[in-house]
């Protein structure tokens, strides 16, 4: 009885539950034409199983995920960044948490290959978003062994573990991109990765001025059950362009919005003690001075401004998306990637 190619891969312990594009040699060769890099070049070892990822290995996983060849440079660039020590892929693969490496792709190449940052950017319908993020996840599953219940103790995972790749909504953003805000040129192709949960949506169709608007968004940043309140942690705030416009029209720069969110997002000890993950020992480990025995002490969600990754993304509408981070010592990474 001939082996059904779809069943063959769907039954793999590292399957993400969806069919893959069958990796034939011919398809892999076609994928490798998108890069001048040597197929045997080692990108790195994916923890915790530490299996090697060469350029060819990455091409195979990108192909299986459904990537077009022109997406391969982004997948290669992203994996290189994600294997940096400070990103702590090892910790995230094993953790009980459900965070995933969200890729925010800036620069002209992302636009060229169609990474989407407008309506529905966190959801289905956009091949580049879906397949680039999926290629990374397939490698984390197969090469890294971060499989729920086997190599990973994740309680729920989150849907962001299927795929996690977006661009900003450049057309409707009043500000510079995340990459430019970090000092890159606008014509550089840059990926930023942060370990975060699926977004929670913060609706506000009432605010007409920034203070109230940002106050509401800050509220979505400070849940008792969010690790952002109890550890140093990254956070992504994807302001919808309608919300960004309210701030920009009031004369606020991206930096000012960023600063205001950092100031507003927090809760007093008195509140935090009433539920969630509050332990005074955790507060004593913050890289900032707080007094966990002072009930009026304000605990900020953002312990270091560099941990808040503010972008403009999504379609037009009164909503901002907030993605909470992890507890375990992952620092977001960013870098320019080559497109050849």
């Amino acid at each position: 009885m001939p082996v059904d190619e779809f069943e063959f891969f769907l039954e793999k312990h590292w399957s993400d539950g969806f069919p893959v594009v069958t990796p034939t040699e011919a398809r892999v060769q076609r994928m490798l034409e998108a890069t001048r890099r040597d197929p045997d070049e080692l990108i790195g070892h994916v923890p915790p199983a530490m299996e090697p990822a060469t350029v060819r290995t990455v091409a195979i996983h990108a192909l299986m995920a459904g990537c077009k060849p022109e997406y391969l440079p982004v997948v290669l660039g992203a994996l290189e960044l994600m294997l940096r020590d400070e990103f702590n892929m090892n910790g995230v693969q094993g953790t009980m948490h459900g965070v995933a490496p969200l890729m925010i792709v800036n620069g002209p190449y992302a636009r060229k290959i169609g990474i989407h940052g407008g309506n529905g950017c966190f959801g289905p319908s956009f091949r580049a978003n879906a397949t680039i993020g999926r290629a990374i996840r397939l490698m984390m599953l197969n090469l890294g062994g971060g499989i729920a219940g086997i190599g990973s103790a994740t309680i729920f995972a989150t849907p962001l573990r299927y795929t996690a790749c977006i661009a900003e909504n450049i057309e409707r953003s009043p500000w510079e991109t995340l990459a430019v805000s970090m000092g890159y040129r606008a014509d550089e192709n840059v990926i930023t990765c942060a370990m975060v949960e699926s977004p929670r949506l913060s609706f506000d169709d009432v605010s007409q001025e920034p203070r109230r608007l940002l106050n509401g968004i800050a509220d979505s940043m400070v849940a008792m059950g969010s690790w952002n309140m109890h550890a140093r942690s990254d956070m992504v705030v994807a302001m919808g362009p309608q919300h960004a416009a309210i701030c920009a029209e009031a004369g606020m720069s991206r930096a000012e919005v960023h600063r205001t969110l950092c100031e507003l997002a927090g809760r007093k000890v008195r509140d935090l003690k009433n539920g969630g993950n509050w332990r005074r020992e955790r507060a004593l480990q913050f890289p900032i001075d707080v007094d966990p025995d002072d009930e009026d002490c304000f605990i900020p969600a953002i312990k270091d401004p560099a941990d808040l990754h503010l972008i403009v993304a999504g379609g037009w509408g009164p909503c901002t998306a907030v993605c909470h981070g992890w507890s375990g010592g992952s620092r977001a990474v960013h870098g320019a990637y080559r497109i050849d």
Partner: protein, 75 residues
């Protein structure tokens, strides 16, 4: 998880080692030992969760495993 990694690094350097985990991480622990070439390496498994045990309770629970630890570190 990293305590497994650390345990393996001790073994590689000739130092007998074991790791104490909680039950929720059993699968990850077994998987990691296997994946790193030490399939079947012993470990100590405490019930999960432990984070809310008071110090005296934690000590009392831990004492139940000391002899098992000694066995894993000796021939």
């Amino acid at each position: 998880m990293c305590s497994v990694h650390d345990t393996i690094e001790f073994e590689k350097r000739g130092v007998p080692a074991t790791v104490i985990i909680t039950q929720a991480f059993r699968n990850a622990c077994v998987f990691q030992f296997k994946g790193k070439g030490m399939e079947g390496h012993p470990y100590i498994e405490l019930p999960h969760p432990i984070s809310n045990l008071k110090p005296a309770e934690m000590r009392e629970l831990t004492l139940q495993y000391v002899d098992q630890i000694a066995r894993q570190l000796t021939a």
